[in-house]
């Protein structure tokens, strides 16, 4: 129904991001079974050192890896020990392993041809200048936003713009709305995000329908996902930055080759999931209504002149 009507309207979406049709679903990596025996469940079986006694223990929440999520993740084809130390094969793990140094994204991806399209240089440079990197140089890393076990790419793994936004924002909300993760990094109390954004009139609507980075990060060349998160006071707060014909969203989220499509909606890409007043103006409606109004005023004016002339003549004659 919805599709037909959209077709009737003839709204043409020029989707520049290539949304893939099928979500990833990696087969389980055999070697990972050994780790997931414990980490894939809420409860694991612990053994005494001599192996004779055993008991059921709860796995702490942060250490549980949801298996379906892992299979759908970009890195779901990797073995746990591609990233983690071999030492984890021994249980219980040695406490020293907690201090293992983890790979960064660039360790594996820098300079590879397949990765060129992501403009890693621009991303890394942006990240280095971000509030997170500056305030928490030692403890923050790319992994904090790109969950190592569930990360999916917002644009190539999602089928539509709306879910791309959801995935993208989940990266931030997963921490800013999660007291435990937030506390691991700072002693500051976590903000109530809705409260921080009430000035947006419809805070929930906005937080769901725009990416956090569209307001909070500085535009960067080459990537749709700018990584330089600015201090809060430098975030975009002017409504007309988005609610106008040359919306800033046109340079990032709604980037497309054409300013308007056949039917004349500006920034039409967003019509797939939203209606942004001011930005989704219809140029044809604007022109037609403007001309008709001008015509009407001219008509009334001419009528007025005739009337005045007639009345003057009438009085004199």
């Amino acid at each position: 129904m919805k599709r037909n009507l959209l077709f009737l309207l003839g709204i043409v979406f020029l989707t520049q991001f290539s949304f893939s049709q099928k979500p990833r679903n990696h087969p389980l990596v055999a070697e990972n079974g050994e780790c997931l025996r414990c980490h894939g469940q809420t409860v694991y079986t612990a053994h005494s050192t001599d192996g004779r006694k055993q008991t059921k223990r709860p796995m702490s929440q942060a250490c549980i890896i949801a298996i379906p999520g892992y299979q759908k993740a970009i890195h779901g084809s990797l073995k746990c020990i591609d990233c983690h130390a071999e030492g984890y094969k021994n249980t219980p793990h040695s406490p020293d392993l907690q201090f293992e140094s983890v790979y960064t994204c660039t360790d594996c991806h820098e300079g590879t041809k397949k990765f060129k399209r992501f403009h890693l240089d621009s991303i890394v440079a942006g990240y280095d200048k971000s509030v997170h990197a500056k305030a928490m140089a030692k403890t923050f890393s790319c992994w904090k936003c790109h969950n190592p076990h569930t990360y999916v790419n917002a644009f190539s793994d999602q089928t539509d713009l709306k879910s791309a936004i959801t995935v993208s924002n989940a990266a931030c909300l997963d921490c800013h709305n999660n007291a435990v993760k937030y506390k691991l990094l700072t002693n500051k109390p976590a903000d109530n995000l809705i409260k921080e954004h009430v000035w947006l009139k419809h805070p929930e609507l906005h937080l769901k329908n725009i990416r956090c980075v569209d307001c909070h990060a500085k535009l960067a060349s080459g990537t749709f996902t700018p990584h330089e998160i600015l201090p809060a006071q430098d975030a975009i707060r002017k409504c007309t930055a988005c609610h106008s014909q040359n919306s800033i969203l046109a340079n990032s989220l709604l980037k497309s080759d054409k300013k308007s499509d056949l039917l004349g909606f500006s920034n039409s890409k967003s019509l797939e999931y939203a209606f942004i007043m001011g930005a989704n103006r219809n140029i044809w409606l604007n022109i037609i209504s403007g001309s008709l109004f001008a015509l009407l005023l001219v008509g009334l004016f001419i009528h007025l002149i005739f009337t005045l002339r007639y009345r003057k003549l009438h009085k004199n004659g």
Binding site: C239, F275, M277, G278, R281, L292, L300, H303
Partner: protein, 195 residues
């Protein structure tokens, strides 16, 4: 000429003033929203939205009052339309564009049986029973965007509502200009009876 205070009772005059002022505000703020740009000066964008929403809700109430009052009072009888009216309207229209310059008398007499000339009758009916309901209903839909968008098809309904709203807003604005102009043609006394 029929008794003006009978044809234009106090409630009607009060209703009409409120209606006119609200529509004026809604037009201005609506334009600011539609043509929002970083340099808009009349109203800032968030102010325009707040004013538009408040005036919009008041207009809905005002419109409901009119519909109820019209149903209960004699005033409703002037809003009966028939096919005949279209033909008569063209006669009235011809009078406005040529007849009145030749000194012809008004083709239809206005009295307590016929308060409006046919053109007025038709356009007032269109304004009050077609365009305003459209604007009021679509506006009401859009004001509840949060509830609407929890539904999967919500955004599509919203987009359609918005387009209808804008089109209806155009017609009501055009109506207002013509309405004002034609009312002014009859001179000051004509305004007195409705204020």
């Amino acid at each position: 000429m029929a008794d003006q205070t009978l044809l234009y009772p106090r409630w009607l005059r009060l209703w009409h003033s409120v209606n006119g002022i609200l529509c004026l505000f809604l037009m201005v703020t609506g334009l600011v929203m539609q043509y929002a740009s970083p340099s808009t000066i009349v109203f800032s964008f968030p102010t325009a939205i707040t004013v538009h929403n408040i005036c919009g809700i008041l207009l809905i109430l005002n419109w409901i009052i009119f519909i109820i009052a019209n149903a209960l009072s004699r005033n409703g009888s002037y809003y009966k339309i028939s096919l005949k009216l279209i033909r008569e309207s063209t006669v009235q229209f011809r009078y406005y564009i040529s007849g009145m310059f030749k000194g012809e008398p008004k083709p239809f007499k206005e009295d307590s049986d016929r308060k409006f000339n046919p053109l007025q009758q038709l356009t007032y009916w269109l304004a009050m029973y077609v365009i305003l309901p459209l604007i009021v209903i679509t506006g009401f839909i859009m004001i509840n965007i949060e509830q609407l968008l929890s539904d999967e098809h919500g955004i599509f309904i919203y987009q359609i509502a918005d387009l209808l709203h804008i089109c209806a807003a155009f017609f009501i604005s055009a109506f207002m200009f013509i309405h004002f102009y034609l009312a002014a043609l009859d001179g000051k006394t004509n305004f007195k009876k409705i204020i």
